[in-house]
Amino acid sequence: MTELLIRNACVFDPLNGIRGDVMDIAIRDGRIVESVQNNADVIDASGFLTLPGGIDSHSHVCGTKVNFGRYMSPEDMRAGRTARRGKMHVTSGYYVPTTYGNSYRYSTMGYTTVLEGAMAPLEARHTHEEFNATPLQDMLANTLFDGNWSIMEAVHAQDVKRAAAIVAWTLSSVRGFAIKLTNPGGTEAWGWGGDLTGIRDPVPNFNVTPAEIITTMIEANELLHLPHSVHLHCNNLGKPGNYATTLETFGLVPDLNKNRQTLYATHVQFHAYGGSTWRDICSKADEITKSVNAKPQIVMDMGQIMFGRTMTMTADGPMEFNLYCLHHNKWSNHDVELETGSGIIPVLYSKKSLVNCVMWAIGLELALLTKNPYQCLLATDNPNGAPFVKYPEIIGLLMSKRYRDEECATLHDGIDQRTSISSIDREMDWNEIAIITRAGQARALGIAAQGKGHLAPGAEADLAIYPIRCDDVDPATEYRKVVEGFQKTRFTIKRGRVVARDGDVIVDGANTTFWVNPTIPDEHNVANDPEFVKKFEEYYTVRMSNYPVQDVYLPRGRCIKTEADI
């Protein structure tokens, strides 16, 4: 039995309604408890800001696509080099660092749980292997279903139960956590050299539309009672005027779950553009947030961009080709058999580019104009908008109008006509920051019940203690202190153990991978369905029996079982 007592912590725990109370936190065997014995180890938090461990609800850190980004940019490995030190491995890279680099940097920023934004089911083993090499964060994997042939056939047949059964079999086979739709139908169309221009375009050869795929998958998701909702990357990413597609998509979403949202729309910044070309692009964040403010069934994340060099990587193959046509830099494209595809190119977000400045402003507008902080979470779609190490700067921008004004002054002059960022006065407080970086994620991902994102007795003892005294620091003016504070925790505690201290990782770590296993009645199980088995034998390059990920890939897997209503 190991016990730990954290004294004098200034706690913000939004899910339990704690706002800046100075209190003690007792931990036994990796869980929060009411009290511990007198001989427990003690950490003095000395009144510092103490939050539940950070959760990133959309980040690309592990898997084939991320690794291909590493192949493509050997020059990135010249940045961010650190030598072996204590328990820390060698790391290198800035926007596509080594797995340990990702893990250490997240941990020193107080993050203890990360959701990998897109895992192709066929390539799940690679993702799980890299999860094991990201030892300081518990991991979850969004699983791609956007161009899955069997799913599209079920959608065409209007058979929600079959779609749900396919999802259940796939998620449990590849140890996935949630349904991810990336440009639904568009990536399949890209396999034939095309793309879709909206959610009412039919997918070639399947005669279904993205709208039908989205609505069917939302219903299937709720039939399976999955912890997370459908996680959607909307169609038409990064095209001027795409806000109309985004609004139309939001309009499809019914309110089906009283505990959480019914749709998680990711990196919405990339989907909130007005205008018709890159020349007249403008912000439509006001329209998007108006829609989200009226629809509690939708949660989004910012997809904030920050200026500098980074790498875009997504399952949205056609969009990456369009970007390649703009930049004429390196480009890679990948097809995943019957499931999905992907594309990768490096980018440089520049303050001299009006388009980039508008993108920067849109992300902030989305967060500031959304009334309920639980509905717009902080993420950069790492590394697409910016590497996650920029999160502290984004927190600073959200907390300080003065910081935003100073940044705006360094940007392209056109930003005032194209966006409304300089007219927004809202400054977030500590509680709202706690919501958009952990509590909101825990609720949106449905993992608060697993003890994530809050500090009530029974919760996992994941904590971040930042060297910030909330009473002494005025974030509106002293935003530098806020940014520095969020860059390096005083202590990061994972499962009741101090894993990082003052920017140094001090343990080897051992993470958990969460996955879901919905129970399906035998008569609906697609593994027994001759048609589904035949599709596998005819078209896949692997045998169906070799497809599921073996347990050896998840040495510390934790299965979340659900009962399906089929």
Binding site: M72, S73, P74, E75, D76, R78, N329
Partner: protein, 258 residues
């Protein structure tokens, strides 16, 4: 001031030495410099016999002379900005990386990456140079931006890759893919080259030997007499596959449109 560094005989002569500290400016404050031998940090005096003649107050007046077996000493002259380095034998990889001023003279051969991403100054190699001479680094889009590299012998593959500015002159022959992805500058090969200048965007490349496997994506635009060399060369523009505006002047290829 002359600083003479004579490499001591080592038990394991193959173990590389990383010696980015060997630049003239660093010797203004004495010879107490650190280098790495394999993964161990060593003092310069552990690996070299050091003798100093005279004094200097500016790096321009300092000449560093390396003697003995320096073929495994890497990164000599990295970020050098002034002064002179003379290497009497062979030199290891990455000599003169990012150099912005001063001279390096190598009397023997140079290993790979000689003058990589160089910005200014002059490198003269009397022997042969290895692969990636005067090139960019893997994955980078910008190579050498200024200065001059002259090799009296041959150069290996990917010579002057991503050349962006400055001048590269190879008196012997180049290996495969010379001048590939060139974006500017001047590149002269007195000997032969294989598949030169693929994806060239801009700049000038002159090849006075034979071009083997000339790429088909260069457009012939005429001939030109070069009186100082007493030859007539065929002038090509390309690489048209990438809308390039580079100029390649070639004395002889196997192509029928010459």
């Amino acid at each position: 001031m002359r600083v003479i560094l004579e490499a001591k005989v080592r038990k394991k002569p193959f173990l590389p030495i990383e010696a980015e500290s060997i630049i003239p400016r660093n010797f203004l404050k004495g010879t107490d410099l650190a280098v790495y031998e394999g993964n161990k940090e060593r003092k310069l005096v552990d690996l070299f016999r050091i003798s100093v003649e005279g004094t200097a107050v500016t790096p321009e007046k300092i000449e560093v002379v390396l003697k003995g077996d320096t073929s495994r000493v890497k990164r000599i002259g990295e970020y050098m900005d002034a002064g002179k380095i003379t290497i009497s034998g062979d030199v290891g990889m990455h000599c003169g990386n990012f150099m912005s001023g001063g001279d390096i003279e190598i009397l023997g051969n140079a290993d790979a990456w000689l003058g990589r991403e160089m910005r200014g100054g002059y490198i003269l190699c009397h022997g042969n140079a290895g692969h990636y001479c005067a090139s960019g680094y893997r994955g980078e889009k910008t190579g050498m931006q200024g200065g001059r590299v002259e090799v009296l012998g041959n150069a290996g593959d990917y010579c002057a890759e991503y050349l962006t500015g400055g001048e590269v002159h190879i008196h012997g022959s180049c290996g495969d893919m010379a001048g590939v992805e060139m974006k500017g500058g001047q590149f002269i090969i007195d000997g032969d080259a294989t598949r030169p200048c693929g994806n060239m965007k801009d700049g000038t490349c002159m090849i006075f030997g034979t071009v083997r496997q000339m790429l088909p994506t260069f457009e012939r635009i005429g001939t030109k007499k070069l009186p100082d060399r007493k030859v007539t060369v065929t002038v090509y523009k390309g690489d048209v596959a990438n809308r390039g505006k580079g100029i390649m002047m070639v004395k002889g290829t196997g192509r029928s449109d010459e």
